[in-house]
Structure formats: structure tokens, C-alpha cells
Subunit: 191 residues, 4 copies
Amino acid sequence: MNTQAGDKVNQILDAAFQVFGTQGFYETKMSEIAEQAGIAKGTIYLYFSSKEELYKAMTERDFQRYLEELHKVVSSEGSFEELLTRIGRHHFYYYLERKEYTRVFFQSPNNDPNMWKMLRAFLQEYVSLIEQLMQRERLQAPHDLALVFSGLLDSFKMEILHSPEMGKEQVEKRISFLVQLFLKGCYELSE
Amino acid sequence: MNTQAGDKVNQILDAAFQVFGTQGFYETKMSEIAEQAGIAKGTIYLYFSSKEELYKAMTERDFQRYLEELHKVVSSEGSFEELLTRIGRHHFYYYLERKEYTRVFFQSPNNDPNMWKMLRAFLQEYVSLIEQLMQRERLQAPHDLALVFSGLLDSFKMEILHSPEMGKEQVEKRISFLVQLFLKGCYELSE
Amino acid sequence: MNTQAGDKVNQILDAAFQVFGTQGFYETKMSEIAEQAGIAKGTIYLYFSSKEELYKAMTERDFQRYLEELHKVVSSEGSFEELLTRIGRHHFYYYLERKEYTRVFFQSPNNDPNMWKMLRAFLQEYVSLIEQLMQRERLQAPHDLALVFSGLLDSFKMEILHSPEMGKEQVEKRISFLVQLFLKGCYELSE
Amino acid sequence: MNTQAGDKVNQILDAAFQVFGTQGFYETKMSEIAEQAGIAKGTIYLYFSSKEELYKAMTERDFQRYLEELHKVVSSEGSFEELLTRIGRHHFYYYLERKEYTRVFFQSPNNDPNMWKMLRAFLQEYVSLIEQLMQRERLQAPHDLALVFSGLLDSFKMEILHSPEMGKEQVEKRISFLVQLFLKGCYELSE
DNA sequence: GATGAATGAGCCTTCATTCAT
DNA sequence: CATGAATGAAGGCTCATTCAT
């Protein structure tokens, strides 16, 4: 793929991210994406064979970026607690950037098996990265802990639904809270 | 609403639960629900003004039941650990019963504000119930802990996606794991 | 199929015959057929699953009628020459009634195998009917003669293309001419 | 038109013949023709103003070649019977070479009047050539006989639809059969 | 109240044609 | 001359909703 074609592809994916992200798969019209991308409807089909395919590609790119950043975080220097905090920060800002998108995180086309395959692959890699961290800390049941920690992080989703506006300070407090809980359990928390 | 009308309403809601639950909002046709309910398409509109309305009513009833059961659990006798375990069990089996539904948990009609209002109300009440439990245990930051605990429970969703088949034994182990982590943090776990 | 449904089906088939007949399969829009039938676009799909299906059904009904009439003709009393004449008349008026339709006689959807199967079945039955006549006359190679005679009749198609307007008298002359040729060959014709 | 341009034109017409011939006018995409011709889509439009125009040009060239060969046949030495046989052979092999094309012989764009004008002109010339032959034999009603003979030849189309595979021997038998019938009528045939 | 035939707005996708390079 | 990326009009089909019976 040469530069121009790549540019167009990304231009479309950016538009798709915007529109799918705010409206969800089903409420999005291809014409809206085209308009957002500043191109004609038909042009999308030069690069993506269908609406489903476009959605999948868009999500895939997004997940890929998420994983790349997560990878950097996990590989960075720091204590266990610091790393957990960074992961939390990463996760939170990911949701925050996608505010509306968050709502429809799981609102993908139901019946596209490719979509599900891709989603599974993402989750696997995602959990695996966090698992590595647990292993380095020589914790027991690192896989389970990875799952649980990602569950904890996902509680952000609920919080964003509750109170969409959060200051930087508050965010840091939430993250610290989660990490402390994860490390010491509920009794040893001092807010 | 007389008894008969109530019956019909529930009959429709049952069908809606089945079909919406397995196919998601957008992939479900009103005719499928009618067929599942054993009535004619038009009849649905005697009781619900639109597809969105029906979805909302169906979800509302489902959430109501969830809350009722959760209420019983929270009000039941037992140690803090036991109660947390029961809540976990309740949550897990809720997801399990809805297996496919899990997939589309958030796949509600995007643009219906009533839907979002209702969802917010549910979450509020849901968290509030767990918060009470935390308060009774005289924990600090009970609201935050409630949020976090519900986040932990939601990690089941991810596990069901990973490995759809889980025996009773495994389930109990998972729940115990979550509760222990919540109580003592990651270092004091022994699997 | 009750009376009403049958009526609607025929109403649609009539409209389809008109529009497909004059415009051909590809140039016809479903909306035109709906308009011609005085119903809504969607209604057609209650009775026919697709444009191809409708075309096939329309053609099938038309062929069926053709065969029924041909059957009557072949079964009627009269000398061999008289019967051939009647068949010719039948064939000619069939084309004439379909003037425009004639143009597109073979303009069916190319890639629908059902369509081709149906067409083959029609041709087989059609030739078979004429073959019976040849057998009754104890002619040699009745099947081949049937094929050839139908080829002769089809030369009407070409004539209609040449001179679309033909009086009754002229028609009778053409038919007589064809039959005489078939009976005696080209040398014994006296126009 | 210089040699190179002529080459390109013929290159496109050859491709058009292939693709239109097997798929029919409506099912053919300009891009397929371009691909078959080994050129870019846009290039076609340097030589032909539209799909219809290209189809017409392709058909015209094809018909022209048909007429040229037919002319040679009609002008060749031989008895009347021999000439009829050669015409039959020519006609049959024309169809056979176009096997699939046969299917769509009349599947030209419906609403292009130029197309119809051209087709009429072809038929006229075609019949006229055969008519000359009839005149040379001093037959009565040479024009009508020409029409009828061409109708007879067209019965090949039906036979190819019935049994697509025909050996050389069978072909000769069919042709002989047709010619004999034309010469002597149905009673004097011996197969 | 119940029905289900009828409606028609709406959207994905195709593909002939154009035009900047 | 040649290219092929871009265009956008057009149409088949779906399905939530209505309403005469």
C-alpha cells in the first residue's frame, strides 16, 4: 500500500471511528462516514468491501493502538504499583477519549464471525500482557489476576456513565484507589 | 391493567427477552417476537408503542428482577464474606442465564434517551445496594468500593467470552477468588 | 391460496407481464411494476421473494397458458393441414399480442438457473405436443419435424420485426405459405 | 483511424465480443471488458462513447463478418441444394461458436434505438442475400422463402438449447434434414 | 381486542462515466 | 494517449408501523 492509498484508508478509518463511535454500528449510515471523510459514498467501497468490513478494520486499528501503548506501559521501568497505576491511567484515558464510543463498546454487528474472532484475539493479547506483569511480580494465579485487574479497570466504564465529568485530580484518586484495593484488599484502604 | 392484559404483556416481554437477548436490538424483528409470543405482529402495538419502548420495558423488568433478588441477597443473614460470595454467585448466574444476551448487554437502541435514563437509574440503585453492604461493614469509601466490586463481578463477562463452558466447581472457585482478592488484595491469595 | 391472495398474485403478475414485457428484465424497476399494479413496492415481496422470482413466475404463467391453448389446438378435430394452420395461427397471435414482449423473449435474467430449468421444461413440452401431431400423421422423424416446424413458426418473430403491421388477410397468407412449404417443399408452392 | 488506433479498437471489440457474448449486455461490466482487453477502463471511452455504443459496434462488426461469409457462400459455385447446405452449415457454426452467446442473442440494450435500427438493417441484408439465391433458382415468392428458410435455420438455436453437445456427423444430418424438408416437404423425407 | 396484509421511507451497494495526472 | 481513483445516481429489498376487518 503506497502512501496515498494508506492515507485514504486512514482518512476513512478516522471518519468511521468518529461516526461509528458516536452512533454505533447500526445507527451509522455509510453516507455519514463518507461525508465525515469528505469523500463520496462509493469511494469507501474501493477500500472496504462492506460496512461490516469497515467496522472490523476500524476496531482492529483501534485495538492495535491500544495494545501498542499498553505494551509500552507494561515494558516500562517502575515498581509493580507504578506499573499498575500507569495501566490504569492508560485504560481510563482510553475510555475517556472515546466517551461516546464507550457506550457502544460492544455494539458491533452481531452476526459477523470475523468480528468476534478479532475481538477474542484482542482480549487474549490484552489479558496476556497484563498477565506478564503479574508473573514478573511472582504472584500466584497470574492469569486470573490479570482477568480480575482488567475487570477492575472496566469499572471506569460504569463511573463514566455515572459522572461523565472528572477532573485530573479525581482520576488519579480513582486509579490510586483501584490499585490499592488490588494490592491490599478492601480493609487496608485509606482514602 | 387487568389480569388478562397483564398476562399478555408478560407474554410479550418474555418473548422479547428471548429474542432481543439472543439477537440484540437491531437484529431483532418485531415479527420474530410476535412469533415467539404466539401472537400477531399488530398485537404488540396494543401494549407497546414502539420497538424501543418494548426493549426498554423488557430491560426494565429484567433489571427489576435482578434488583429484587440482589436485595434479598444483601438483606440475608451471613458474614460479609458470605454475602459477597452470594452476590458474586447471583451476578454470575445472571450472566450465564443470558449467555448470548451477555454479548449484547449494552446493545440497546443508541438514541433513545429514555433508555439511558432507565439504565442510569438501574445502575444507581444497583450500586447503592452494594454500598449498603459496605457501610454495614463500616468500610471507608463505601460508594467507591461498591463501584469497584461491581467492576470485579463484571470481569465474569470477559471470562464467559473466553471460556463459555464453566462447571459449577470452577464457578465457585472464581467467585471465591474474586472475593478473596477484594478482601485481602493480590498478595494474600492462595488459590 | 384463497381467492383474495390469488387475485393479488395475478394482479402483480399482470403488471409484471406488462412492464417486463415492454422493458425487459433489466430495464424494469420493481417500483414500476408496483405502480402498474396499483400497490406499494413492498407488497410485491409478500408474494414473490425477488425480482428474478417474479420474472420466473410471470413467464411460467404465460408459458402455461400458451401450452394449454396449444394443447387444445393439437387435440382439436381436423385434417393435418388444418391443425398445422391452427398451430401457426396460435403462434402468430401469441407473438402479436406480445409485440414488444417478443423483442425480449429471451431477455431473461442470465444467471438464474431456475429460469433456465423452467425454460427447458417449457420447450420440451412444447416440442412434445407438436411431435404428437407428427406421430399421428405417421411421419418419419417426428421429433425432428416438430423442432423444424417450431423453427418455421418462429420466423414470424423476424417478420414482426420487419413489418410490425400485418392485416388479417396477410397473416392468413403467411400461415398458409408456411404450412404449404412444410407439407410440399419449396418447389410446389403457388402463392 | 490509423493502424494503431484500429488495433486498439479491434482489441476492445474482441474483448467486448468475449464478455458481452458470454454474459449478456446487462451482466457485463465495462471493467471486465477492459480487463479482458488488457487496458484500463478509461481507455475504452477514448474509442467508444458508452457501453451501448460499444455493444452496438461489437455487434455490427460481428454481423458484418457474418454477412461477408454468407456472401461468399451465396456467391460460391454449386447446386441449389449444395448452397442451401453451406448456408445451413455457416449458420450452425455461427451459433456454435457463440454457444453462450446464443442465449443472449437478443439480449441487447432495450432502449437504444440505434441498436434496433442496426439490427433491422442487418436482418434486411441477411434476408436479401438468401432471397437472391431463391431468385436464381427462379422460385416463386423468393422473399417469403428467404424468411422461412432463415426461420428454419434458427431452429438450430432451439436444438443447441436442448442438446448442447453435437458431433460433426449429427450436425450434417440436421442440416441435410432441414434442406430436404425445405426442398420437398415433410412427406418426402427419408431419414 | 386481535389480526396480518399493506405500506413506504430508508439504506447499502453497484457500476458507468469522468478527469486530474 | 492512457490511466484508474473518484464519483453519485439509482434500485432492490427490509421491516417497523398502520388500519380495515
